[in-house]
């Protein structure tokens, strides 16, 4: 059976070690960066209300203990980098990072979701087989790992790229160059290109089409040896360029380091040798790298192989299907955003909204408008204003708050206007629907008014 032949294939353990070190260090740095920017305070501690993912409203920030959560997350990332108690550290990292991301969906980013699922996958991958502290503790080092463990990382990265490429196959992106036509001219303050290229319409089109082709082709360019170096050059160029254009934080670095997994073993062995040299130059202790101290084992055997393989297969089936769930909903995806998240739709639309809530006493007919600043931070208000699930959750929060304050027969209506990809704003939610009576579910939200336009494509 060809599949069983494939699953018995072996490969050098070096790529996994490089990937593990890169992942751990980047995550460690991300947590420190997040902390130093004061975002734990402003995004998780200060807000009086947090937007939850459906079914996860039990995941809330822990007041000042939230810092402790980040401390645990950062520490586990560092332990992953050095390969100490790898599997336990990975498990703690996965749990703490995912918990952090679930605390408030205001801060949802595709690459945070990527980190969460990647760290889940890495639980099943022996990334500590070589060049780890675990080797020292156990006195064992593994030269090879099953080929599929390395390939699974490539598959996950390819899913991200290809789905984000497919998402660009729509009339706004390709035929109107939207939203790049809005974003790029606003970068007039960039040196050299700001006042020239960024202002030219053909550049907006070229970059829209270029971005689409990049996303769709890059996994293949990286897979084939002959195009790999060129592909990697494109990866660096593309991500550094988007880094200059947009405030996308750590994402470019994660993708660049991640793409190294596509390179052959010899390349990773060289990197590890380089690391070794640095460490040796820093400490005089030769002990750690004295190979005779280790029992060199040829292949790292996955324990409970069948179970692990079924979990990983199931994981990938879900990854393949999940981004397609939007097909189950009627209406325009970019407008309704039902099935938009967790689907690699990265920097895809420009959407702004304005939503004011009206609290009505059903019996007396009296009403008043809510000042959103009284309840939300400016980031929360911004995100809430154009996303239906945010609007509904906030409407319920307002309804509950005012009922608690003694208001009777509370109804909650919203005056909501949204502009998508440069279209003139239009009313977003049926203003006659009492949102306090609407329940969150995975069903289609009938109270979203349809977009007065059609966007063709996937």
């Amino acid at each position: 059976m060809s599949t069983s032949i494939y699953f018995n294939k072996k490969s050098s353990s070096a790529p996994l070690a490089v990937f593990r070190i890169g992942f751990g260090l980047l995550m460690f740095y991300s947590i420190i960066r997040f902390w130093l920017k004061g975002w734990i305070e402003t995004l998780y501690v200060q807000p009086q209300f947090h937007f939850s993912y459906y079914g996860f409203d039990w995941v809330k920030p822990l007041d000042n203990y939230t810092y402790f959560l980040f401390l645990i997350c950062g520490t586990s990332a560092f332990l992953i980098a050095i390969g100490l108690k790898y599997r336990l550290s990975m498990f703690i990292f996965f749990l703490s990072f995912t918990y952090i991301e679930l605390m408030d969906k205001t801060t949802y980013l595709n690459h945070y979701y990527f980190i969460s699922i990647l760290s889940f996958l890495m639980l099943f991958i022996p990334a500590n087989a070589t060049f780890s502290i675990d080797n020292l503790i156990k006195g064992k080092v593994y030269k090879k790992v099953p080929q599929w463990t390395i390939d699974s990382l490539k598959v996950l990265l390819s899913i991200v790229y290809i789905y984000s490429g497919l998402a660009k196959l729509n009339s706004d992106w390709l035929l109107k160059a939207m939203p790049l036509k809005i974003w790029l001219p606003s970068k007039f303050d960039l040196p050299l290109i700001g006042e020239s290229l960024m202002q030219l319409e053909w550049v907006h089109y070229a970059m829209s089409w270029g971005g689409m082709f990049y996303d769709l082709l890059i996994p293949f360019l990286l897979l084939y040896k002959r195009t790999r170096l060129f592909g990697f050059f494109l990866v660096i160029f593309f991500h550094m360029f988007t880094k200059v254009l947009f405030p996308i934080g750590m994402f470019p670095y994660i993708m660049i380091i991640g793409s190294l997994i596509f390179f052959e073993s010899e390349f990773h062995i060289k990197i590890l040798k380089f690391f070794k040299k640095i460490i040796l130059s820093l400490s005089s202790i030769n002990y750690f790298f004295n190979d005779s101290k280790f029992k060199v084992i040829d292949l790292y055997e996955i324990r409970k192989k069948k179970l692990v393989l079924s979990i990983v297969s199931l994981f990938f089936i879900i990854q393949f299907l999940f981004p397609l769930r939007y097909l189950l909903y009627p209406g325009e995806l970019f407008w309704n955003e039902q099935g938009y998240r967790f689907s690699w739709r990265v920097m895809l639309i420009e959407k702004k909204g304005y939503s004011v809530f009206k609290i009505v006493d059903q019996e007396k007919g009296t009403f008043f408008y809510v000042n959103n600043e009284d309840f939300l931070t400016s980031l929360q208000e911004k995100q809430m204003s154009f996303q239906p699930d945010f609007i509904l959750e906030y409407a319920h929060y307002l309804g509950d708050s005012f009922t608690l304050k003694g208001h009777k027969n509370v109804q909650v209506f919203v005056d909501s206007y949204v502009a998508l990809n440069g279209r003139l704003s239009q009313r977003y939610v049926d203003e006659k629907v009492d949102l306090y009576k609407e329940k969150e579910s995975f069903k289609h939200k009938k109270w979203i008014l349809p977009l007065n336009d059609e966007i063709k494509g996937l």
Partner: protein, 369 residues
């Protein structure tokens, strides 16, 4: 094959970069993007600074009249002082939206126009004869609304008002202190503009702290809170479930609430259109910036859409009674309709215009993706 493609890509990248640096050497005055720098110069030299200078003149007159009135508190001097106060209050409506630089730093607008006043606190100040007008506790006991009370509200008629000033120097002292505070605050802001102008006009990037973004946000914020909410929405009761007529602007003089609103709305329209303060010329503006970006939306363009909505708001305001207290008591629904007309513009400014400019509603510090 692949090598050839890579070579092709390489060459195209180099070409892109070369044409990029090449274009940059072209005459600086011929920008492809909207010339924000020119817009900032126009804003500073033709709108903001002249508006401040004109305001300062009205304030100097107000100050002189106060001196006369304090020296001899009689009906003639009271009438004169009242008329100077009104002229200055109208002039202020052209200033309040420029909450930037020094004005923002010293909480200028909070010291000039917070209403309703805190009557108990204010009377306490008069009685005690000592107060710190710098303190945020005193924001609702100073500025134009406090003068409104001092000139119209401390007695049932002019005789009893004059009596307060003739019999108790605490009143004349507080009046003088209020006007002095307004003059000194204005001096600080105006003097700073001499130096701040350079910083202001050179900061045309698209960052959270650049002049264009700051002032655009200030303009919208003013329109939304200072004008729409404070002058109309709050008194009409849209945030409270019932009208609050004590919250109208100039509650004691009463019959000028519409005039003040018209003045303020006129000032915002002028700023949006880029009309100079003296009304004689016009220049680069939010409106022309929008039409440059050609944000053409199904037939009508955004800049004219905003103008249409601003004008219909203006029509609504014109249909109101001069006295908003009376308007609220007789037919509050007219004020509610006015609120809706003003609100329609907020949506276009905050959603559509900011989207076209790609400016954030406020400084939001977090990563995107």
């Amino acid at each position: 094959m692949f090598k050839k493609i890579s070579l092709l890509f390489f060459i195209s990248f180099i070409l892109i970069n070369c044409s990029g640096s090449g274009d940059d050497n072209v005459d600086d005055n011929q920008l492809l993007s909207y010339d924000r720098s020119k817009m900032l110069i126009h804003w500073a030299d033709k709108i903001i600074i002249p508006a401040h200078t004109a305001f300062k003149e009205t304030l100097t007159n107000l100050d002189n009249s106060t001196t006369n009135f304090v020296a001899s508190p009689n009906q003639t001097n009271l009438d004169d002082l009242r008329s100077k106060w009104l002229i200055s209050y109208k002039s202020w409506q052209h200033i309040e939206m420029f909450d930037i630089g020094k004005a923002e730093e010293i909480y200028f607008k909070s010291k000039m126009n917070v209403y309703p006043i805190d009557k108990t606190w204010l009377n306490n100040n008069i009685e005690k004869g000592s107060y710190d007008l710098e303190s945020p506790n005193n924001y609702s006991s100073q500025g134009f609304p406090a003068l409104d009370y001092m000139l119209y509200g401390i007695g049932l008629d002019d005789v009893s008002i004059l009596n307060k000033y003739t019999k108790n120097t605490n009143y004349t002292n507080y009046l003088t202190a209020l006007v002095n505070k307004m003059v000194s605050g204005t001096d600080i802001v105006i003097n700073d503009w001499t130096a701040y102008r350079t910083t202001f006009i050179n900061s045309f990037e698209n960052t959270a702290s650049s002049s264009v973004n700051l002032l655009t946000n200030d303009f919208i914020y003013y329109y939304e809170k200072g004008l729409r909410a404070n002058k109309v929405g709050i008194p009409a009761g849209v945030f409270s479930g019932g009208p609050l007529n004590g919250n109208v602007e100039s509650f004691y003089k009463k019959d000028i609430s519409k005039d003040l609103l018209l003045e303020a709305l006129g000032a915002t329209i002028k700023f949006f259109n880029g009309t100079s303060y003296d009304g004689l010329s016009s220049g680069p503006s939010l409106k022309s910036y929008l039409s440059h970006l050609n944000s053409n939306k199904e037939g009508s363009s955004l800049d004219s859409e905003i103008t249409v909505k601003l004008n219909s708001a203006l029509t609504q305001v014109n249909s109101l009674s001069n006295n908003f207290v009376i308007q609220i008591e007789s037919d509050n629904s007219k004020l509610l309709v006015t609120y809706d007309a003003l609100q329609a513009v907020v949506v276009l400014l905050k959603v559509d215009m900011l989207q076209a400019f790609n400016i954030n509603v406020d400084y939001v510090d977090a990563d995107g993706d």
